[in-house]
Symmetry: C2
Subunit: 194 residues, 2 copies
């Protein structure tokens, strides 16, 4: 199985782990993009917009590489939650998500300039939390410092015990929708993937 040269335009260690999980070789070159949460876009358009900005920021320098950008947000009652600014905001976010169902949206952008490939899609997963006690939220923040995560939780760490149900793609919640990506990747690489 041959593969094209791939760049992951993201610093997220979870995304790096997930691409490795499916056997891809890649370089990591993060795109230099600041998110503006006051921008007037629907959650889906927001995630796809920033995934594309991240991918294009890198792809312009590497036209012969398949560049992968991604952006993950948490949406509760129509409102976008990004990464918390500090522990106090982390507490507020987790309290608001407690006992509720929210949507995790990951936008993905695949840019390969020399092949004229410009693909953008997004994936939604519904996530339902258990009711969390104040003690549990404090325990999590104090021990896992989830400030680098959209919605302030990592489904792949201790917080797993707080998640009652997911409906959709699990890996989307971790930050990259492996199955949806693979469907696109198969088309791009045609006869090279299994």
């Amino acid at each position: 199985m041959t593969q094209p040269p791939i760049i992951l335009a993201s610093n997220s260690p979870r995304r790096q782990q997930l691409l490795s999980q499916i056997g891809l070789d890649f370089e990591v070159i993060p795109g230099n993009v600041n998110e503006d949460f006051s921008i007037d876009l629907s959650p889906r358009n927001f995630a796809e917009h920033y995934a594309t900005k991240k991918a294009k920021d890198v792809a312009k320098h590497y036209p012969d590489h398949l560049v992968i950008g991604a952006d993950t947000i948490v949406v509760l009652n129509g409102q976008i939650l990004g990464k918390p600014a500090d522990e106090s905001e982390s507490y507020t976010m987790l309290s608001s998500l407690s006992g509720e169902t929210h949507t995790v949206v990951t936008g993905v952008s695949l840019q390969w300039i020399s092949k004229n490939i410009d693909i953008i899609f997004s994936e939604n997963t519904l996530v339902t939390f258990n009711s969390l006690s104040s003690q549990e939220i404090h325990y999590y923040i104090d021990n896992y410092h989830p400030l680098d995560k959209a919605g302030s939780y990592g489904i792949q760490d201790w917080f797993a015990v707080c998640v009652n149900n997911i409906d959709g793609c699990f890996y989307n919640v971790m930050g990259f929708p492996l199955s949806a990506f693979y469907q696109q990747y198969k088309k791009i690489t045609a006869n090279d993937s299994p």
Copy 2:
């Protein structure tokens, strides 16, 4: 956070990884139990029966430990799929699961003799596969040798790209329902867990 002395009565590296993920310390002492798939039990009763056999086989020697047994099966159209005997059966299983929705059932048994604790429960997760090509199934079997896994797949390896959707607990599909376990564990340890 103090914890009781815990024994995991399972050889599964996935279960060991999952208990470590939520910060528990434990010893691994597998129960010596052979599964008989001709036994006349419903899927749920089957998984709970063998989880309990595994836990009790160890607990009788360690009355002062909380002993955890678990058994995971895949159920397609009412039929229980265990681990495939060989690559040919692996191919047959994956072909039958292709494009379909099946149920993963994990039975869990918690035995702590000196505290009179005898808890048995099970968790169901619905898993829907993409339609798999013969090439994809062969690629997976040749490269990942999934003979040690119920249903012949590991959702935590390359096979992730073949899973279209899950509804329920992801970790249940890996072999241990972390969230449901934690709810019971909290009751057992009362004021010691967060």
